[in-house]
Every structure is written in C-alpha cells, then in structure tokens.
C-alpha cells in the first residue's frame, strides 16, 4: 500500500480521498502529552537504508515503508532529478531524517500524527538574513484540508498583516525581528506560530469548541472526541470566561443532561446542586468531582483557573471510578502553561447584586392585625388584638409605637461584588508554567453577609528528557465568610420572614426596638437587625492541594505515570453570641434581653481539619500497527486513597462584655468536644481500547474497589463497562454524501457503585451521649439508638447508553442524541422501624431500587452571514424516575401535618403525597353533603377529595400528587459576534416540578408570622366567595383544617430563566500594539435578569424538597468586566 501523499493532491480539485493532515487539537492541557508521544515515537524508531543512486522519492518511500510516518510536500520543492547515495544501518530515525533532508535541501517539520511536512529550505542564502524585510508565505487550510480564504494573518504585536486568498494562500513582508505570526478566523481557534526563521508556513485552523478532533479528559487520560465511545460532555474555558461565576458548580449549567440547581446566593456558600442523569439514590446524589485527577470540591476551584470540564455521564466513561461513580463523574482540568513567551492575562469585573424574588408581604400593620383577628375569629378563638389596639394603630403616627415595617426592605439591599484574576503563563521546550492569583470580594444582598476568596493556582511541568517528565500542581484557596450567628437558613426563615409590620426595627433614639403588642405564637420578637448587627459567625476555610506527578516512558513505549496528592482543607468557624437589648417603646426604660440561640453571651469555635491523600499509578501502552489499521490502547492502574477527618469544638460563656470575643475571654460553662475518623479506598482499574481504522471502536473499563466503609467480606466490588462505537461517516459508501461530516453510533453498558454512607453504618454503635445528672452531678449514660445491618454494601448502578453523534455541512450543524437506562439497585436506606421497637432509628440496609430512563438531545448550529458569526444551541433532557422495588414497603416523610412525601413503588422518588383539594366549600349544605372532614369545617374551608369513598377524609385519602423531580430540563444559548462585538445569551429551564412551601409566608399567619398580600387580599369571605385562598386560618394553632398537606398548597415551580446575557467588545489590536497589549475586551453581563415562572413566592430555582422559604435568596447580578492580555 502506498502511503505517500502528494501535497499537490490535497490542493487539487479531486480531494475526495480526505487524506490525513489531521492535526490533533492541541489544547493547552494536552500539549505535554502530545509532545511526549511525538518525542517518543520518533526517537524510538530505527531505520536502515541502503541506496546508491536513488532519487529522493525512492528514499522517502523507503523510509515510509519502515516507519509509521508519511511525508507531505508541495510539488516542485524536491529535485527529483538528483540522485542520492545513502547508507544507514539501524540508525535513529531522527538522524536519518536530518541527513536526508539536508541532502535534499528541504526543511522538515514532524507533526504529531506521524506526518512529516517537507518545506523549502529557509535561508539558503545566509546573507539574506541581513535584509530588514523578508517575505513569508504559506497556505491555510481547515481541518479537512480545504483551503481557507479570508483568514487574517498578522505579525503579532504589529499592524502588519494580510488575509488569505481564495486559494487559502498568503504572502507577507515582515520585519526581520518579527517573532510570531497570528492567524485568526471566525469560528476557528486563533493560532500564534513562531516564525523561527522559516519563510513558508502550512497552517491548519481548528474549529472553535466543536471540532471533531478535540480531545477530552476521561478517567486517567484523554481521548479524542472523534473516537470516544462513551457519553462525555465537556465545557471549555471560553464558556466560563467573563461570567461572574462565584462558584465553579454554576459553570455546569447548560450542559446537556445535567440538572444544576442554584439554591441561593449566599456569598461563599452558593454551591449549586448537580444531578447527572436524574436522582439515583436517596443518599448522596452528588457526582464525584476530580480536579486534575484528585477528589476535590468545586467551590474551591476558581472558575478562572479552569481549562476544561468533562462530565462522564455513562457507565462506559465512569466505571473506571468504580464505587464512587454512580452519580457521574466531573473532571476538572486546570490551566497549564504552554511553550512561548510569557503572557499575562487580567480578568476582572465589578458588579451589583439584587434579590431576584422576595415574598410580597403585608407591610401595613392594621391590615396584618385585621388578618390575625379574622383568622382567630374563624378558628373560634378570641381575637389577639383588641379593637382599642387596632384603633390606636389606625390613628397613631409615632413610627416607634405604630410602625409599618417592611422587613424585606430593612434587611436587603443592592450589594456590590468584584473579582480580579491575574495569570502568568509561558514556557520553554523543557519547562512550562502557569501561575494565577484570584481575588473575589462579594457583599451579600442580605444584611451582615459577605465573603472573600483568595485563590492561587500554579502548574509547572518540567520535561527532563524525552522519556521523563514531572511536574507539580498547587491549588490553594482561602474563603473568609461572614454571617449572623444563626444558621443562614434559620436567619432567612425566622429572621427575615417572621418579623411583623407591627415590630419596630430601630427606634428613633437609635436603640433596637421591641414590640409592645402580644401576638400569640410570636410573643418574643427577635429583632433581626439587632441579631445581624450584633452577633457574628465567621467561617474561614482553607484548602491546599499539592499534586505531584511524574511520567516515565519504559521500553516499548509503555508509559508509567505516578501521581501523589495531598489535599488538605481546614475550616475554622467562630460564632459570637452577644448580649443585646431591645426596647419596648411603651416602656423605653426597661431593657429586654434579645433572645439568641443559645441564649447566653458566648463564643463557640469549631475547627475541622481534613487531609485526603491519594496515590495512584498507571501504565499506559498505545500501539498502532504499521498499516495503521489497528490501534490498541491499554491502561492499568492502582490507587490508594485515604480520607482523614477531624473536628474540635469549644464553647464558653461568662464574657464581661461584647468587646472581647475569643475563647480566652470567657470564664464559665466551658464545653468542648471533638473526634476524628478515617476512611480508605484501595482500587485496581484499567481500560482497553481497540480501534480498527478509527472506524470500529471498542472499549472496556473496569475498577475493582475496596472500601473501608463496609465490613470485611462486603468490601470489594467489581465495576466493569463495555462500549463500542461505529463511525459510519468513515465508511466509503457514506463518504460520498457531502452533507455528513461526521456520524457516529455509540453504545455502552456498565456498572457503577455508590459507597457514600456514614462511616461504621454496619455496626450498632452504643451512643454514649445519653447521660444525665443525679444530685447535681453529671453521670455518663449510654444506649443503642440506631440499629445496624452488618451486611450492607455499596449501591449498584447499571447504566446502558445508546448515542448518536451527527455533524452536518462541515460542522454547521451538530446533533448529539443519547438515550439511557440507569438502574440503581441495593439502594441504602433506613428502614422505618415502628416506634414500639424501642423507638430506634432504623438500620441502613441495601433496601430498594429505582430507575432513571432518559433521553437527551443537543443541537448546535453555527454559521457566518457576512461579518456576523453566530452559533445557536439547544438541549433538552428528559428523565423518567421510578422507584422499582421497595420490598412492598413505603417510606414516608412527615412534617407537622403528617405525611408529605413518599417513596413508593411505581412512582418517582420523593413524590409529594397529599390530599387532593377540590376547591373551597361555599355553603353549609355543601359541607353536609360532602365526606366528613372535621367537626369545625365551615364555608370558606378547603374541600378534599374522599378518594376511597368511605365518607370521611382521613390518611387513607392521601395519594401521590406531585413531583419533586422535573420531567425535563432544557437550555439554549445564542452566541454571535460582529466586528469586535460579541454577544451571548444562555437560557435554562425546568419543566413540571412542584414545590410545597408552608411555614412562614408559605401559609399566612403561620404561628404568629406575617402574610403575603396575595393571600390577605384573596382569602375567602362571605363577600368574596370566588377567592383564591380559603378563609383566613391559623396554620399552627388552629384546627388544621386548611393546613392539611394538600394539593391546594402545592405549587408548580417550572421556570425558564435567562441565566446569563453578555455583550462584549474587543478593542482593535492596532490601537494597543504600542502599549504591548495584545488584547483588550470589555463587557457587560447580566445574570438571572429574566425569569418566567408561575411560582412567585420565592425564586423558583430553589431546594425543591425544602418545605419552607428559608433559603438565602438568589440574586440578579449586573457586571462590567475587563479582560486584558499582555
């Protein structure tokens, strides 16, 4: 078989052969890997040549026959007349090549994919170097070899430039001191190519982001997207840049098949919940996150340091992570340096945040008091506020005595934030480096909350020789977060959403106000302004990961890699409870101690210290036969990981004032505690790939995992996967179809595990905190409080996936479709134990199974119209979750009104379990003719369906009535640029999901709390029978007729949200070249500015199963930003 490829053929008309010139997309991350493989393959090869009087073509053919390499060259550069005498015996390929090219008077360039490009010799005439100007020329093609017209070629740092001809060629006079040429083209990744004395260039431009030859990170390695057999989604750094992401978890929003739910925007505590392919268990559903191969927390990675994120969605990709992979795996790769002169990038923004939604509460005191009195009357109880008090409020003008406080206005404000990142990177042929520093300063929209983050990422790779390289990644972050002493959820629930309009915040004399009215259920006013201003809770978390790795090439091109990482993180929490007084304006001289929890002036300090140590080693062997038909890649590895956790806490009271807040300043009631634990994992893993002609692809993965979380004999598990792909587009019969650029069919099957349960769940522990006191002496006490099942083991997930990748019209349209069936068995759950069995917490046992069947489609279209380049993409993911097996059991969750959600065979997990509300009773006759609900039911109360038709409404009438998992999630984005302007917009949506907010503002007047205007104005009265809400009632202190868990209060929280919209402008480089600046971009970004949802009480993007509105509100963020590259 002839391998020689004539360069002229590629340029010719009939290039149906679709020949090589495939250049791997050298993303920064993999530069090092590629250099390595190239270096090795080339230095290992031995060649023997023996010619007397052969022409150059014969020589090249002979070399090609003996090696994997092919030569590419432009017609006419070789003197085919000239004859050569060459003799080498088992010589190094490099030596041979150098010698041959010298003789043939050509330059050569070895490409990563075993192509050698021959070009005309530069500087044949040594004297030409002295000329001030010289001419360079060349050819620019796309990845498939088609010439690209209109590509901008400029000398970096100057205004000297040109564009390519319709044939893709260019010619340019450049100054002698020019260092690099910059090639740019819309839709393609810009390239900078060092000139290094050459005069001709062959440049292959690569597609931006959806190029088929992209590589993506997979477990313990990288793979070409084109030959990937599993389902892997990825995000590149470009997508993350310039968005005001305060947490890397938010970066995953918009990836197909991933449900990312942002549950509030507390600075420093805004981790989004990530679900990959549905909810697979009731235990930990969080995916495994690895940063540069090490288990890590997304919160502690600065989004600006992220080069790419890969999400391993199916078992084929994830099985290599075994018993931690059941919820999917997220691989984050941080930025690395690349060869070239040092570049400095600055990325910063300044922004303003504002709450997206706040409850629209009644802020008029008289309205509120009227509502209370009405509700008490409706419940047959005496009015809490007398007519005289009401009249006093109606006519009173003193704002201390008769306030109409809008607490949301008191407690929320527009809050600034800013972030600054600087990165230095560069390298030589032996060392590459990247060093970045980041600073985020975010004020909270809620009073007394803020956070700062300082981060550092350093990445140095040293290439000692062709065989040996090693490096270190250091990732550090420090968060400093402040909030009031109460947990933030409690503060929002009871500090923000519980105070009443009748409560004064700060009196006119500056003292904190207290109420003079008695409100049942709310006798104690905990002034939230006082709590926020006077108490404190500071949380400092520090994380440092040191990741050392070395790679050595053994004989036969077997690569041995070892990674050792220490990941240390410490959390220090310091809480101060002050002694503060509030004043009743009617008795202004009687200070009342503000109630805190705990009540006394005290300091609590909690330290958590954690160290994870990972050590893993891999052997990797990549083999391709001489004919390039067969490709085998083998990976084998071994890892050990240990996770050490410890904590210590100390508490003390007896401070002399609010001034000193350290433990040492306290004197009495000292209390302390602490413990430590360790868990370990030991694993063997491997992968085998086989490819035939890059067309038929087969892959096998396994992991054999041992976990200390289970008892001996139940520790080890084997997690295999197989996958295959068929690149139909490589078949000759389809290559005639011009429309199809790529078509691949994928299928995979595999098993994964989930081991994430608390330590020692397999033994019945004796709880030793059951002590007591006799005669004022403390005595120890103990008891079994929880049952245990010694035979527990990990949860098993079996995941089958079928996918199709289709790219049409030269990447103009890309479609990815995946269908999956994910079955989780042996889900660890606590068995409900009836109270009579010692009121014990039930054992955790491998109890039930559930399945997630789903379907994902991702469509991207990109094109250029005139000067406008655009890209639109959309994705939708359906997941159908069903509990398959629960041993005939049902597991209920209860709230104060009884059952609220259920895990039940045949239904989605944690479905809402409710009475069905039929509307509102309008008359006594209607009540009498309906099933018996409650002796005190009256017109205006909610009517429930008597499902079992037994004439009474009781627990047997409850049914599954709503879902807590969306039916589908979707997103779409739009990107466009026009002459330096760029625009992007990203929408996210969730469809068919229900929330059940009761508690403060969920139910009006809950236990003496306030009421929304909506409920106050639209409650049933004899004069307003067509009302949206039942008559006013007391949800906590009444008959509970209307507060039963029913569909009446279930709300559809589907939403569509413009998550992000951005407009940027890149300043033309001519203006900047003098300042040595290569790029300046300014942008304006808006986040969460537009939301469509029926649910208005709070932000619909909330913790769905949470039955109250105690979440830190999400915020809209408007930012102005600047990116500068020097």
């Amino acid at each position: 078989m002839k391998k020689k490829r004539d360069w002229s053929l590629l340029q010719g008309e009939s290039d149906k052969l679709k020949l090589g010139l495939k250049k791997m997309k050298l993303t920064i991350i993999f530069t090092m890997l590629v250099i390595l493989s190239f270096g090795n393959s080339y230095s290992q090869v031995k060649v023997s040549l023996n010619f007397e009087k052969a022409n150059i073509q014969q020589v090249l053919e002979a070399i090609e026959d003996q090696t994997d390499f092919i030569f590419l060259y432009k017609d006419g550069i070789l003197d085919t007349e000239k004859e050569y005498s060459i003799e080498f015996t088992n010589a190094d390929f490099e030596e041979v090549l150098k010698s041959v090219c010298e003789k043939a008077e050509v330059d050569f360039e070895v490409r990563s994919n075993r192509q050698i490009i021959l070009t005309e010799k530069v500087g044949n005439n040594a004297s030409s170097v002295s000329f001030q100007q010289r001419t360079v020329s060349g050819l620019v093609t796309d990845a498939s070899g088609q010439p690209l017209p209109g590509v901008t070629v400029i000398v970096t740092g100057t205004t000297i430039g040109t564009v390519t001809t319709p044939e893709g060629e260019f010619s340019l006079s450049i100054p002698a001191n020019a260092q690099t040429l910059q090639f740019s083209f819309v839709g393609m990744r810009s390239q900078e190519i060092p000139i290094e004395g050459r005069t001709t260039f062959t440049v292959v431009m690569e597609e931006e982001t959806i190029g088929l030859d992209e590589v993506v990170a997979v477990g313990y390695g990288v793979q070409r997207k084109a030959t990937l057999t599993g389902s892997v989604a990825s995000v590149e750094s470009e997508f993350l840049e310039s968005r005001p992401l305060t947490n890397t978890s938010q970066a995953l929003q918009g990836i197909n098949g991933i449900y990312v739910n942002q549950e509030g925007g507390q600075p420093g505590n805004d981790n989004a919940t990530i679900r990959i392919r549905g909810v697979g268990t009731l235990n930990d559903n969080n995916p495994l996150v690895l940063v540069d191969g090490i288990e890590y927390n997304l919160r502690d990675v600065n989004p600006n340091d992220v080069e790419s994120i890969s999400v391993l969605k199916d078992a084929a990709s994830a099985a290599i992570y075994g018993n931690r992979a059941a919820n999917g795996v997220i691989l984050v790769t941080t930025k690395k340096g690349k060869e070239g002169k040092m570049t400095v990038e600055y990325n910063g923004y300044y922004g303003w945040q504002e709450a997206t939604y706040l409850p629209d509460a009644v802020t008029n005191s008289v309205d509120f008091m009227t509502a209370m009195n009405t509700a008490y009357t409706n419940e047959g109880q005496p009015k809490p506020y007398s007519d005289a008090q009401l009249e006093e409020f109606r006519t009173g003008t003193d704002p201390d005595l008769y306030p109409n406080t809008d607490w949301h206005a008191e407690l929320f404000s527009v809050a600034p934030m800013n972030e600054h990142n600087v990165r230095l990177s560069g390298g030589t042929s032996s060392v590459t480096y990247s060093l970045s520093l980041g600073y985020l300063n975010q004020e909270g929209i809620l009073i007394a909350t803020d956070a700062k983050r300082y981060s550092l990422n350093s990445n140095v790779v040293y290439k000692y020789s062709d065989k040996l390289q090693f490096g270190a990644i250091v990732n550090g972050s420090y968060w400093d977060r402040n909030q009031p002493s109460v947990s933030i959820d409690d503060f929002v629930l009871t500090g923000v959403n519980r105070p009443l309009p009748i409560h004064p915040a700060i009196l006119s004399d500056g003292r904190y106000g207290d109420t003079w009215l008695v409100t049942p259920g709310h006798n104690l006013f905990r002034n939230p302004v006082a709590i926020a201003n006077e108490s404190s809770n500071r949380n400092q978390s520090k994380r440092a990961m040191i990741n050392l790795f070395g790679e050595y090439t053994l004989p036969f091109d077997i690569k041995y890699k070892a990674t050792y990482a220490i990941n240390n993180y410490d959390i220090y929490n310091h809480r101060f409870i002050p002694e503060t007084y509030i004043f009743n304006p009617k008795q202004p001289d009687v200070p009342k101690k503000l109630r805190f929890d705990p009540p006394n002036r005290s300091v609590q300090r909690t330290n958590n210290n954690n160290i994870d140590i990972s050590f893993f080693q891999t052997l990797n062997w990549d083999w391709r036969d001489n004919s390039e038909q067969h490709n085998v890649n083998l990976l084998l590895g071994f890892s050990r990981e240990s996770f050490y956790r410890s904590n210590f806490n100390a508490y003390v009271e007896g401070f002399l004032g609010n001034e000193l807040t350290e433990l040492n300043a306290g004197t009495i009631n000292k209390d302390l505690g602490g413990t430590s634990s360790e868990s370990k994992l030991m694993s063997y893993f491997g992968r085998a790939n086989y490819g035939y002609l890059d067309k038929y692809l087969l892959e096998f993965n396994f992991r054999y995992d041992g976990s200390s979380r289970f008892a001996e004999g139940h520790r080890w598990g084997f997690f295999p996967s197989v996958s295959a792909a068929w690149r139909i587009s490589e078949e000759p019969w389809i290559q005639n179809l011009d429309a199809i650029s790529d078509l691949k069919l994928r299928a995979s099957w595999g098993q994964l595990g989930n081991q994430n349960i608390s330590l020692y769940s397999f033994v019945s522990n004796i709880n030793i905190n059951q002590g007591g006191t006799f005669n004022k002496t403390i005595v120890p006490g103990s008891a079994v409080t929880t049952l245990a099942d010694p035979n527990i083991s990990w949860e098993k997930t079996t995941l089958t996936n079928i996918g199709l990748d289709l790219t049409l019209w030269s990447n103009k349209l890309q479609i990815i479709v995946d269908a999956f069936d994910k079955k989780t068995t042996d889900i660890l759950a606590r068995i409900n134990v009836p109270g009579q069995v010692g009121n014990l917490t039930g054992p955790i046992t491998n109890l039930y199974s559930m399945s997630n069947k789903g379907f994902e489609i991702n469509v991207t279209h990109l094109n250029s119209v005139g000067d406008v380049n655009y890209r639109v993409g959309g994705n939708i993911a359906f997941v159908d979750n069903v509990v398959d097996y629960l041993a005939g059991d049902e597991q209920y969750t209860t709230n104060r009104y009884g059952n609220i959600s259920v895990i039940k065979e045949g239904y989605p997990v944690s479905s809402w379990y409710l009475y069905e509300a039929l509307g509102i009773f309008q008359s006594q006759e209607e009540i009498d003719s309906h099933a018996f609900q409650h002796a005190k039911t009256a017109p205006g109360d909610i009517k429930y369906r008597d499902v079992n038709d037994d004439g009474k409404i009781d627990i047997d009438d409850m049914r599954v009535m709503g879902r807590s998992i969306p039916k589908f999630t979707y997103g779409f984005n739009l990107e466009a640029d026009y002459k330096g302007f760029d625009f992007s917009a990203f929408f996210q949506g969730v469809y068919d999901i229900d929330v059940y907010p009761w508690h403060n503002y969920g139910f009006g007047l809950y236990n003496g709390a306030g009421i929304t205007k909506d409920q106050f104005e639209n409650s049933w009265t004899p004069d307003n029978k067509d009302a949206k809400y039942p008559r006013l009632f007391l949800p906590a202190r009444g008959s509970q007729i209307n507060s039963k868990n029913s569909t009446f209060w279930l709300k559809d929280a589907s939403y569509l949200r413009l998550k992000n919209v951005q407009l940027g402008y890149t300043v033309k480089s001519e203006l900047l070249s003098k300042a040595d600046i290569s790029r300046v971009r300014v942008y304006v970004n808006a986040q969460n500015y537009l939301t469509f949802s029926k649910y208005k009480l709070t932000d619909p993007e909330k913790d769905i199963l949470k039955q109250n509105i105690g979440d830190y509100p999400n915020s809209k963020v408007l930012t102005l930003g600047l990116n500068v590259t020097f």
């Binding site: 006798n523 430590s676 520790r715 002590g771 209920y892």
Partner: protein, 500 residues
C-alpha cells in the same frame, strides 16, 4: 513477546507493593463503642442504666408537654398552641404528642429491656446488680404505665428491641399491661434500696416503686391494694412533707424529704426552659375557675366564707394560691405583677418558675433552668392513701390524718369532722386539685374520675370573666388519646381507640 514480559514486570512492580496489604482497609471507630465490645465493665453497666433515665428528660415525660397538660383541664389555659385537646378538635393526625408520647415511652422500654437482658453478662457485685435490675424494672413500669394512662392497652414487649420480632405486634389488653407493670414494680420493690447517698441520690428507690404502685392501683380503682401500697410508703418513715410549699419547687431545696422520685436536671448540660414557658410565653395560665377554687383561709369556699371581700378577692385565701399563682397587683419578681404582662388570662403560674416574690429578676432565657421535675412526692402519696382508703372503707381517722397533714403544711384548717364518704371524696378531689396543680396530675385525675365530660364541656374564663376558650370533651372518645395515624401506618396491626 518481549513487550509482554515488560508489561508483566511493570505490573508486578506496581502491584506487588500493595496487593497483599488488605489490612489497609481496616479502620476502627475512635469515638464510639459498639454492641460487640459492650457489656463488659461495671462502668458500662452503670452507663447503660443511666441511659434508661435520660429518656425521662424528654418533653413528653417531664418538660414542655408534661408541664402543659393542665391546659386540658379546668386548671389552666393556653392562649396559643396546643389547644385542640382542650377544644376537642383533635384527631389522630393533628397532635404530634400522640405519636411522640408513644415513641418516647417505647424508647425507655427498649432501653430497660436491653439492660435486663444483658446485665448478667457483666460481673457485678450482688448489690449493684440488684440495684440496676431494680431500677430497670421500675423504669419499665413507669414507661408502660404512662402508655396505659394515655392509650389503654399497648403492645407488651419485654425483650431487647428486635426489628423482626416486634414490628408487627398487636396491642395487648390494658389488664395485661397493668399486670406486667405491677409485677415489675414488685421486683423493683424487692431489689431497690430505700435510699442512696452522694451522686446516686435521685435514682429509683424502694419508696418510689411503692408509690408508683400505689398510683397505678389508684388509677385502676383497686382501692385496698392502693391503700396497702401507699401505707407501705408511709411506713418506710423516710418521707415527710417539706415545710414550705413554695420552696418545694425551688432548686435550693431539691432532694428534700418530700421527694420520692423526680427527673433531675443540671444547667447547662441538662437544662430546661420552664421560666420561658411560664413567665414569658405564658403557655399555661390559671383560669378564673382555678383561682376561684382556692378556699378561704377558714377552709370555706369563697362564696360561703365571711372572709371573702369582693373588693379584695385575693385576700385571706388558701396560702397556696399566692404560692402557686401570679395575681395582678401582688408581688412577683420584686415588683407588683401587671395585667398586661399576664396577657393570657390575667394570671400566671409561679410554680416551677425559678422566680421569687420579693427578689427582682429579669426574664429568663431558654435552657437556663434546672429545677427537677417531680414525678412522685409524699403529699401525693398521702392524698392517694386518703382517696383509696375513703373509697375502700370510708373516711376513717387515717383519712383525716393524711389530708389534714397536707392542710397543716399549707397553713389551712383541718377538714371538718363527720363527713360522709361522698363529702370526703369531694374534699379529697378538691385537695388534690389545689395541692398538685401544674404537676401533670390533674388531667389524669379528671379522666379517671370520669368528671372530664362535665368540667371540660365548659368555657375557660380570664380574670375579667370573659370567655377565652370554649372547651369540648366527648365522653365516648376523649377518655383515651388516639394512636397517631403514623403509628398505625408503621404497624397497621394496631387498632385505633374507639371514636377516632
């Protein structure tokens, strides 16, 4: 072939180091014991029986819920929560206590069963072994008798909790449970010491077992047996009335001669919030009916006594009124009480608060009180004796003696001579109400006397005589609590009580 050898060698190199090292995965819990290494030392045995007592600090036994039970009687009114049991609006789903009471009693039962099943595995002195067994029997009897008082017959489980064996057991009859309780108490009486010293003071004693036995027999209307049990307590000659009625409920007088058994507290580790419930939140407030039921100093009701002055209605009353209740205009916490502070009925409770009349104090915070909650005291035993004796054989001298002893401590005149059995019954019932108000007894009394259907179908009034609550009691249903619907859902074999 050569390649394979290289691969093989490399693999060996990597895996050899660790593969045989399975023990890498062995970790041990560093801060807890487990069942396998328990029941070995004396300390563990003592710690285990202490764990049986710790259940008593639950709200259902000694804290909020228990303290508030007078709100379901004519004694007291709650202006806020927990009203449905008073107004008859309860059903099997809307009172959390229906479930919590059940669960917490079975928690205590499970722990005592565990101790009784395992205690013999530990080498202990005979004295200590007996004592621990006696305590376990006493506590098991206490928890079962509590269940019976609220629910009637319940599943009788006498072995360590076993999920497979005990999950679906049905209810035993009330009689079966009572028999077991009495048997446990007899065991306890025979095993327990009469008294303790030092840091054991507060553990169950022989007297406590006898007094609890007397109470159960009284509740069962087994008068002669009740007399006998109460008499045995009196004959121990260990207990006597504490001279100061108000001081009985003060921290400084804890473990005094009147206390037979209580639930013990200590700030800050084991604290409660009685001050907050009673003084700040006024979760319980005396009704007008309660205040009016205090006799005049001369032993006559206020509408019969010449001492009564409508202008000064709170003068010349049974001294226990001012020792128990806060009344506007009278000193409390160092200043005269004001109506507006006692917003609920106008009255408040002093009993079980830590405050004194003439000592200024600011309001308290939660978790800062540690007065022990009294389960059994000698006055109760005297009243039990008097009631049982009167029911059994009529008002003999010993009945008068018992009741007059209590009156004397309160500085009240003796009960008039020559009462009939029925008259004496009324005197005793009245005395029980006055003496034991806010101690969690009266709710059981009005139910066992079957008077609840009368006194609870009435209005609760405030100091001005305004209705603050309209109450309702359904005699066909409300003498027992329902089993919570979730309790039945957990074990569907359980039968619901009638009427629910």
């Amino acid at each position: 072939m050569k390649k394979l050898i290289y691969i093989g060698i490399s693999l060996l190199f990597i895996f050899q180091l660790y593969s045989c090292n399975e023990s890498y995965l062995d970790t041990v819990s560093t801060d807890s014991y487990n069942e396998a290494n328990w029941w070995q030392t004396e300390n563990q045995a003592i710690s285990s029986i202490n764990g049986c007592y710790s259940v008593m600090r639950n709200a259902q036994i000694s804290q909020y819920e228990q303290l508030m039970e007078d709100n379901y009687t004519p004694n007291s009114y709650s202006h806020g929560g927990d009203v449905v049991l008073a107004t008859g609006a309860h059903n099997p789903g809307n009172v959390a206590s229906f479930r919590n009471k059940w669960d917490i009693c079975y928690q205590g039962i499970g722990r005592t069963n565990n101790v009784l099943d395992n205690i013999d595995r530990v080498e202990l002195s005979q004295t200590l072994s007996d004592r621990i067994k006696g305590e376990a029997h006493f506590l098991r009897a206490f928890y079962y008798s509590t269940l019976v008082n609220y629910f009637g017959g319940v599943p009788l489980i006498l072995e360590s909790p076993d999920f497979a064996e005990h999950s679906d057991l049905p209810r035993n009859t009330r009689q079966e449970v009572i028999n077991q309780v009495l048997q446990d108490l007899d065991e306890a009486v025979s095993l327990l010491p009469v008294s303790y010293t030092g840091s054991n003071i507060g553990r169950a004693t022989k007297g406590a077992a006898l007094a609890l036995k007397a109470r159960i027999l009284l509740y069962e209307s087994r008068w002669a047996d009740a007399v006998n049990a109460a008499k045995q307590v009196m004959d121990l000659n260990k207990y006597s009335l504490f001279p100061d009625y108000r001081g009985l409920f003060m921290v400084e007088n804890e473990n005094n001669s009147e206390i037979i058994f209580d639930v013990q507290y200590l700030v800050p580790e084991y604290a409660h919030s009685y001050d907050v419930y009673l003084e700040i939140q006024i979760n319980a407030a005396p009704t007008l009916d309660m205040i009016n039921s205090y006799l005049m100093k001369d032993g006559l009701p206020m509408d019969e006594s010449p001492l009564y002055d409508p202008e000064n209605p709170y003068e010349n009353r049974d001294p226990r009124m001012h020792q128990t209740c806060v009344i506007p205009g009278y000193m409390f916490m160092g200043k005269p009480a004001v109506r507006s502070k006692y917003f609920s009925t106008g009255f408040g409770f002093k009993k079980y608060t830590s405050f004194k009349d003439n000592v200024a104090a600011s309001s308290s915070s939660p978790g800062t009180n540690d007065i022990n909650y009294i389960i059994l005291r000698y006055a109760d035993v005297l009243l039990m004796y008097a009631e049982a004796k009167n029911e059994d054989g009529g008002p003999d001298d010993s009945v008068y003696e018992a009741i007059n002893e209590i009156r004397a401590r309160a500085d009240m005149p003796d009960v008039p001579e020559g009462l009939t059995k029925e008259q004496m019954r009324e005197v005793i019932r009245h005395e029980r109400r006055i003496e034991l108000v806010m101690e969690g007894r009266y709710y059981h009394d009005i139910r066992r006397w079957r008077t609840a259907e009368v006194v609870m179908n009435a209005n609760a009034l405030n100091i001005e005589g305004d209705v603050v609550q309209t109450r309702s009691f359904n005699p066909a249903r409300d003498y027992l609590w329902p089993l919570h619907e979730v309790t039945i859902q957990e074990n569907p074999v359980l039968e619901q009580n009638p009427g629910y």
